[in-house]
Each structure stands twice: as C-alpha cells, then as structure tokens.
C-alpha cells in the first residue's frame, strides 16, 4: 500500500476509535508509519486528510449495505438482511459517530460525506419499498421516504441505546422491533 493509502486507512481507523477532535496528525503519522513531510506532501492537513478518510468510509459503507440491499430475496428479506447484518455494535457506526462531533458538523467538507451516506441509504431503502409496493409485496401507505428514514434512525439510535446500556442487546431488540413493524406493511399479513 502506498503512503497516501496508508494515511487514509489509518485516519479511518482513528476517526472511528477516537473521533475527529481526538485524532492528532502525530497519531495518524505513527499508525501509518509515514513521516510528517510525506503526510503534508499528500494532504494539506488534518481536515483534508479526514475528508478523504470519511469519503472512503462512506464508499465502503455503501458497498457493505449494497451487498444485502442489492442481493437476492424479497424486498422485506433484503431490508431485514441489511438491518440484521453483523456489526460491532459497541464500537458504534463510523459514519454516525462523526455527526456527534461539533467540529465535523461545523465543517462542510467533513459533514458532506456523513450527510450523503445517510441520504443515499434513505433513498435506497425508499426505492426498495416503492419497488415492493409496485410488485404487490408491500401495501400502499405513508411516504416511502419517511418509512426509510425511520429504519435508518432505528439503526443509529440502536447504537446510542447500546452504548448507554454497555451492551449490544438494545440494538438487536430495536432491529427486531423495526422489522416487526415493517412486517405490518406487507400486503398479505402473516397469520
């Protein structure tokens, strides 16, 4: 891996572990095994490097979600696979945790990849729900974008509840609850 990629990957890890404020240029250089000169050759500074790391995390997050959402099965099964995929719950969401950081939220270049990832996921889920309505799997009803936003919120809120409980259990309960609620949107209700 070249120095630029090592810097980006190290920054991705440190942002997830320590957040933006807690990640120093020195720590990035040490983890990447790259000198200060090389870092400033590739990137203008911490904001620039963090933006590159967040954009890459956002791409990886989309690809990960697309594996289930674009996979086989009914719309309900694909959404259930996405929500239920294995996660390191207590580490939190590496995208969502960025939204808690005032410095990230205040800096448009840093906030953009966070917002865009959520926008993409909401739009993708809403599109699937519309697709399920068109095929007769789901019944018509509330705007699909609002249902999708609620599903994404369950995931992000599940991480918050898990940290509060110091246990992954509330996350898993919330996901099971959300999927039970989504079942109620199917055209043919299971008896």
């Amino acid at each position: 891996m070249n120095a630029s990629d090592r810097l980006i990957e190290s920054t991705q890890e440190l942002l997830w572990e320590r957040g933006y404020v807690g990640t120093s240029p020195k720590a990035i250089q040490q983890r990447a095994g790259v000198g200060q000169g090389s870092m400033y050759h590739h990137f203008q500074g911490k904001p620039d490097l963090a933006a590159a790391a967040l954009r890459r995390s956002a791409e990886e997050m989309r690809a990960l979600n697309e594996r289930t959402l674009g996979g086989p099965g009914s719309v309900y099964e694909r959404i259930a696979a996405c929500l239920g995929r294995e996660r390191e719950v207590l580490r939190g969401c590496r995208i969502g945790r960025m939204a808690q950081d005032p410095e990230v939220v205040a800096e448009p270049e840093l906030r953009a990849p966070v917002e865009e990832t959520f926008d993409w996921l909401v739009a993708r889920l809403a599109g699937l729900i519309e697709e399920g309505r068109a095929s007769g799997e789901f019944r018509p009803g509330a705007p699909a974008a609002e249902l999708a936003q609620a599903l994404v919120a369950v995931i992000q809120g599940g991480y918050v509840l898990a940290r509060a409980a110091d246990s992954a259990e509330p996350f898993h309960q919330a996901v099971r609850g959300a999927l039970a609620l989504l079942l109620g949107q199917l055209a043919e209700q299971p008896e």
Copy 2:
C-alpha cells in the same frame, strides 16, 4: 435558589452544551456564580456533581414524557404525542448525548442515570402497547418491548440524522415514518 441547586442546574446546562469532557469545574462555578470552596463543600468533585446533574435531567425527562404518555387519548395518540412533542432537535437529547461520551460510559455512576432513563421509557411504552393489546386497540404480535425499543431508537437516531444534515427535517421525517409503522399495529386498519 441555593448554591447546591445552582451548581446542579449549571452543570445540567453545560453537559448538554459541551458534554462531560468539555465541562470544566471552573466553567460550572462561573455559570453558577459559586466559588470553588462552596462547590467542594457541596460536592466531592466533577464526577459527583455531574452524576447529580444527570439524575436530575433524568427525572425531568421522565416527567416530560409522562405528560404525554400518561395523558388523555388512545394508546396510539399518547405515543404519537410523546414522539411528536416539541424538541430542540439540533441541540440533541441531553440524555442520549451522554452515551456518546467515553468517560461517561466508563463511569458506572454517570452511565446509570442514562441507561435507567432509556430502560424506563422502553418499559413505559411497552406497557402502553400491552395495554392497547388488552383493550383491543392493538393487535397481538411481536414482543412489545422490541417495538418500544425500536420507537426509542427512532428518536435517538433521529437526533443523529438531524445533526448529520444540519437540519431538523430528518428527525421529523423519521418520527412520521415510525408513527406510520405503528399504525400498522392497530387492530382496525384505517382504509
């Protein structure tokens, strides 16, 4: 208000604005208009004072939710009033934001009021859903505690999505989506 109450109230405000790590004993004393000697007369230190502040915020949060959940209307209407109550969305949840703070999560006395507040809210919502099932308003189905956990997660996740978008809109969309999903649990489906 006496010095002890002023210290607690100032700490509540600062924890909401700046988090635990960002709140210094000096800032608390300045906002409360109380000297260092008086602060250490009433409290052993910042963790002790922060725990008192969090316990009070937790009590206030329960009372605020109880106003709608224990109010008039059907179970669905009471839950809708609770989820839809006016909030300062972009300030975030003063309880939930504490769960993002590694120092709070690592300290049992600080984490306890956060966890207990969520446990209370989940149990209260689950009890209402059970009540609604007993009366025939809701249909039987998934464990009520899981549905309740999903509803609480929507609120907490809604705050995260709002900060990511720097707009309250995703929060409101997620709440409308959650209420639409909850409608699907009513015994008599609106046409």
